[in-house]
Amino acid sequence: MDRANSSNCIGPKCKENSFYCVSLCPYNAIHIEPNSDYMVLGDPIWTPDLLLATWYQAETGESPLSIEYQIGDSGGGFDKLKFKFRKESSDGKEKENIRTSIELNKRSYGARIEISVPWYGAGMSFGSISLNMMLARAKASQAWNTFVSTGEGGYPEELVPYKDHIITQLATGQFGVTEQTIGYARIVEIKYAQGAKPGLGGHLLADKVTPDVAIIRESVPWNSLFSPFPFHSVYSVEDHKKHVDWIRAMSPNPDVLISAKVSSPTDVEMVAVGCYHAGVNIFNVDGSYGGTGAAPDIAKKNIAMPIEYAIQKVHRFLVDEGIRDEITFMASGGIRNAYDIAKAIALGADGVIIGTADLVACGCTRCGNCEAGRGCPHGIATTDHELVELIQPDWGAQRISNLYYSWHNQLVDILWRLGFDDIRDLRGAGLSQKYEEYGGKGLLQSG
């Protein structure tokens, strides 16, 4: 007998069908009730539906039919914003020419790098996630002509074949960063802060500092690794400029792009302008909705400014300063699906950075036990020798790739319905005059 496959069940509304199993069962042995797993899954940001929808897309590459995949249940943020579409969906050929690529460098100097989709992968270090998971993300990034960041745990040799699609991250612990790993990269990311825990450095608790992790970070096994909260060499914007110059001086590639990742404090727009003057190519604001289970609860969602507010603030300020078209502005922190991506761009970002969604595609249930013991029971956020085998790189890459495929189709559809043929035209198009009135003039309304 086959195992029950409840994911095919469409629930009580099946009643009208001729094959409704409940009424067909001769022994009245079947009844329908909400899946108990479903009841305990998720949280208001990542609702059970969003998790299921992400799994569905990762499995099939298609948008789910009966699961809510566009919006969560947080009552705020992206969940409060809706597009005012101008056209109905269409499957027609006219969507073929819609462009979703974005440029990562708008400066007069540095390499011209265009990614095919308006997102790339956020930094998740070796140690916080497994090598297999890193490889899965790298392969998917290569397939979609985009990037993924190493995080601050070093650059495993196995990633080198994908180096054209890998961003080397330099964070406050400077773990595993050498001239060699800087040299691999077309883009180097300086992580000043993380939206999930501004004011705290990266941390990897003792349990996860296995000998393998300790070797690549050159630290002591089974000792927690707390990165400093700031760069001790960067306490000001002119230090930051020097820092950026330093990375350029180390890199054998004179066209290397520099990205600066910051959290969203109240004066984030000043930070943006400071980054512009320091010569960075990509400015990344990380909002407060992101973060895995490893970020301390006290920090998560409690410190930084909501990302949807920060995006507009930064975008407008850069426009007012007359420098918007010289810097690529990426938003991150709680971007869960194609609709979030479109909303972030409509609020003023050029593109977004994806973290948790990649993990969910590979089976993450958002249980939040990323940091303790052997780590993730699903083999994602762990370096345990047995558990890591649960994710094979090719399998994971295919799952992530399927998700991206589905997102891409949805994005094209969104653009079509809004009347755009290029994602770059969507940037800032959702803005109204005031945040409270975003129902007003732009393409976005509160719902």
């Binding site: 400077q174 060699q180 349990d207 970070r217 050159e218 630290s219 000792n223 400093p228 000001s236």
Partner: protein, 863 residues
């Protein structure tokens, strides 16, 4: 009601308007410089140092202050210059002049002299200047007697000294002027730049060097100058009100950094009826300083304590009496003390004590770069700056014109913020020698009043009476010519036996002779370079000569030798290249050749930088490079790539991030180095014949490093892997925080801290303590520190997660080769290090070891 309260009351009406408590400007760090000199110094010299720190500003704010001006240049008699308030008003809108004068000057002030200060007729003549600087009118004023009487009476200030009331009136009058013409209007028309006696402030939207050109300050002379390159991050600045310096009354302040508690400090001031008008950290800082000094009349030491409190272990190390006072100060002023990274340079005039001061104060956590320098020759000068090369630029500019100055200071040092040792602040005080003279006496003291001087006690210098023989220079030359010295080191060792009795001229003859010798051939050249380098790098008894003079001379001769080298492409062992000839760069005929690069004109960073050029030379096959003429070029040794095999020798002022990322190469720094040296250092070797700056080897992973002098704050923080470091001096604090370098006995990393210094006779002596800070090896999980501490001065309360243990046999075996190498490099003999009070001891008797203890917070213990 006491006087303080009366003055505070008198200001009640000033702040009725709601003034925002948020900052209007965001800025991070900047470049700051200050100098105080016993003779008056022209503005063009500070220009050089501002140019050097061009990359610390972004052209959106430059400013200077000058204290101790020349009466003839100001167009007034000395009495007026010293007695009158020098009121400088910037007119952003020149049509507002009459209105300003009618409402705030003529009715209250007696103007003894007024003029528009000179400027170029057209601001566009200054290259790169985009915003027209304001017209500035300089007024020499006193408060009208009747006005002062009325003011005094209105607020019952009669019991205050007359001049104190007059000071207060000037302060309030300027406040009102700013309020009306600057702060309260949408349009900003005029504001007071400065109003203290015998001092002036100027500021523009642009770089400081442009300001000096525009206002024709090149020839204007003063005893104290401070300059500031601003880096505001809000764009489109069109008026200079937000630029530094800001003034209290008789003092001007420039600032590098950023407060976290701006709002709280503003509230603290507001409770005392002080209302900021320009809404920046810097203005708030100087208002605070003015409050503490002029109203509360605190002595400088207590003002510094109120700004940068002494905390943690440093507090407990203070004498009991100080503890009581400091505690009281902290209790009353903690809410008003600026929190975060900051470094202040203050130029002040005390017209009533007849002294002028230049003050540098660093925050308790030492989060901003700062260097102090002192030169005490025929004239004395103290310089404070963000970077050492900015100091060297001032000194070079001065020495080019006036041979009483040398291009190298007698002493360079860093302050230890909020410490019990120096208090994190140094003060250069100028006092009159004779009245009516510009020549003054300069004295440098720390926060506690302890004098810093480089003048040697002649008795000490000569007390060694073991002189056996002396070689005049011609004998030395003869010996050299007949190859009596087998190696440069042998020659050096013979020389130092008698160098201390050489007079200046003998020494000059000696180095000149070495230069001439170098022209005879390749072998002679390399011999001469090595001997001169040893004379420069090593410390030895030099008698009553000044080391700065000797270094200057050696540097000149070396530069001469370097620059007279045949051009690149010639068939010579040494080949020369510079900025003009850079396009001729080509591969060496064989890898044994040495490329000598004059890097003076190369950019400090970017594609045309010295750093990139060295990489280009290396990629073409050069394995030996000498770079000289450095003036703060950054990132030297960066970008050479993994497993690089090249030796680079650096002469001059090297810049930040030296060797950061180094992975195989060898770098020798003949002199001090700056901040961020050796970050993420992976492999290779770095030898510094002087001090290193902040965050030395942050995040390092390996390599072998030797430092002759001290390290500033946060050396080896977050280092992992297997770095092996010998520091012969000590560190300010936070040595090896979060050190994770495995087990030193199993291939991991460690630091050897010798805690020594040289006395005036060039002999090795112990520092007061091997480690003065309260944070040693904090939260470390791996590696070790071996520190020389024969008197057991370091205590467990300086540790957090470490413990002090006895060295094992294996430990001694491990560190001995590094001490031997240290001996080879610096001549610091292992025997001397192991000799305590004349008795030879064993390594484990002299050295102690700090190892990590597993912390519950860090490991799996208890889980």
């Amino acid at each position: 009601m006491d006087c303080v309260e009366k003055i505070t009351r008198s200001r009640e009406k000033l702040g009725h308007r709601q003034i925002p408590t948020y900052k209007s400007e965001a800025e991070g760090g900047c470049g700051v410089v200050g100098l105080a000199c016993s003779t008056s110094v022209a503005g063009r010299h500070i220009l050089q140092s501002c140019l050097q720190m061009h990359n610390r500003g972004n052209g959106k704010g430059g400013g200077i202050a000058a204290v101790g001006l020349l009466p003839e240049q100001m167009g007034v008699p000395r009495a007026i210059l010293e007695e009158d308030y020098l009121l400088q008003v910037a007119y952003l809108d020149s049509s507002s002049r009459k209105l300003v004068e009618d409402s705030f000057i003529s009715p209250y002030l007696q103007v003894d002299y007024a003029e528009k200060i000179p400027s170029l007729d057209e601001y566009r003549k200054v290259p790169g200047l985009e915003v027209r600087p304001p017209d500035v009118i300089r007024y020499f004023v006193r408060v009208d007697e009747d006005v002062l009487d009325r003011f005094s009476k209105e607020y019952s200030l009669e019991e205050l000294g007359r001049h104190q009331v007059e000071d207060e009136f000037i302060y309030q009058n300027s406040f009102k002027l700013n309020q009306k013409f600057y702060a309260s209007l949408g349009e900003k028309r005029a504001f007071v730049l400065s109003h203290g006696k015998n001092m002036m402030v100027l500021k523009i939207v642009g770089y400081t060097e442009q300001l000096i050109q525009y206002y024709c300050l090149g020839d204007v002379e003063a005893n104290i100058w401070i300059g500031h390159q601003r880096y505001p991050t809000k764009g489109r600045v069109w008026h200079p009100g937000g630029a530094h310096p800001f003034v209290g009354l008789h003092e001007a302040l420039v600032h590098n950094g950023d407060f976290a508690n701006y709002v709280r400090v503003t509230k603290y001031l507001r409770q005392r009826n002080i209302h900021p008008q320009f809404l920046t950290d810097t203005e708030v800082s100087v208002l605070l300083f003015d409050l503490l000094s002029r109203i509360y009349k605190y002595p400088l030491e207590y003002i510094i304590e109120a700004l940068a409190p002494t905390t943690e272990r440093d507090f407990y190390m203070l004498p009991e009496k100080k503890k009581r006072i400091y505690k009281a100060i902290q209790l009353s002023h903690m809410t008003g003390s600026p929190d975060g990274p900051w470094f202040f340079i203050i130029a002040g005039n005390d017209p009533y004590k007849r002294q002028q001061q230049l003050i540098g104060i660093t925050d308790t956590s030492m989060l901003r770069p700062q260097v102090f320098a002192l030169q005490e020759g025929d004239v004395k000068i103290g310089v404070i700056a963000s970077e050492k090369q900015a100091i060297d630029a001032v000194l070079k500019s001065l020495s080019d014109e006036d041979d009483r100055f040398l291009p190298i200071a007698d002493k360079y040092w860093n302050a230890r913020g909020g410490s019990h040792t120096d208090g994190g602040a140094f003060i250069f005080t100028l006092t009159d020698i004779k009245e009516d003279e510009t020549e003054k006496e300069l004295r440098c003291t720390d926060k506690f009043g302890k004098v810093v001087t480089t003048i040697k006690n002649p008795r000490q210098v000569y007390s060694k009476s073991s002189l056996t023989f002396e070689y005049p220079v011609d004998i030395v030359e003869k010996k050299l010519s007949t190859n009596s010295f087998k190696t440069p080191l042998e020659m050096f060792n013979r020389l130092i036996d008698f160098l201390y009795i050489y007079q200046n001229n003998d020494f000059l003859d000696l180095v000149d002779m070495l230069r001439r010798y170098s022209t005879r051939g390749n072998q002679e050249k390399s011999f001469a370079i090595e001997v001169l380098t040893l004379l420069m790098d090593r410390r030895y008894n030099i008698g009553d000569k000044r080391r700065s003079m000797m270094l200057t001379k050696i540097q000149q001769e070396l530069d001469e030798i370097f620059s007279s080298t045949p051009r690149i492409g010639s068939d010579s062992n040494y080949q020369f290249i510079d900025w003009q000839s850079r396009n001729l760069l080509q591969s060496p005929q064989d890898p044994d050749r040495t490329l000598i690069i004059n890097v003076e004109d190369f950019y400090p960073e970017g594609p045309d930088s010295a750093s990139r050029f060295i990489v280009a030379a290396y990629n073409l096959g050069w394995k030996k490079v000498i770079a000289y003429g450095l003036r703060g070029q950054r990132f030297l040794g960066c970008g050479l790539g993994p497993k690089s095999d090249i030796r680079v020798d650096l002469y001059g002022s090297s810049g930040d991030y030296l060797g950061s990322g180094l992975d195989g190469a060898e770098i020798y720094v003949h002199g001090n180095s700056q901040d961020q040296v050796g970050q993420i250092f992976r492999r290779g070797r770095l030898v510094v014949y002087g001090d290193v700056g902040q965050t030395f080897m942050y995040g390092a992973k390996g390599g072998e490093v030797y430092v002759l002098g001290n390290a500033a704050g946060r050396p080896l923080i977050n280092a992992v892997g297997k770095p092996r470091v010998v520091i012969n001096g000590t560190c300010l604090d936070y040595l090896a925080e979060s050190f994770m370098a495995g087990d030193p006995l199993g291939g991991g990393g460690f630091v050897i801290l010798n805690g020594i210094r040289y006395n005036d006779r060039g002999e090795i002596v112990e520092q007061e303590t091997p480690y003065p800070g309260g944070n040693l090896f904090s939260l470390a999980s791996g590696g070790a520190i071996y520190f020389r501490d024969p008197y057991k001065l370091v205590t467990e309360d300086q540790l957090n997660s470490g413990k002090i243990v006895q060295l094992s046999f294996e430990d001694c075996e491990l560190i001995l080769p590094y001490l031997r190498e240290n001996e080879r490099l610096y001549g610091i003999s292992v025997d001397r290090l192991l000799t305590v009070d004349g008795k030879k001891k064993t390594i484990d008797e002299v050295y102690r070891k700090v190892i990590p203890i597993p912390l519950k917070a860090l490991s799996m213990i208890g889980q």
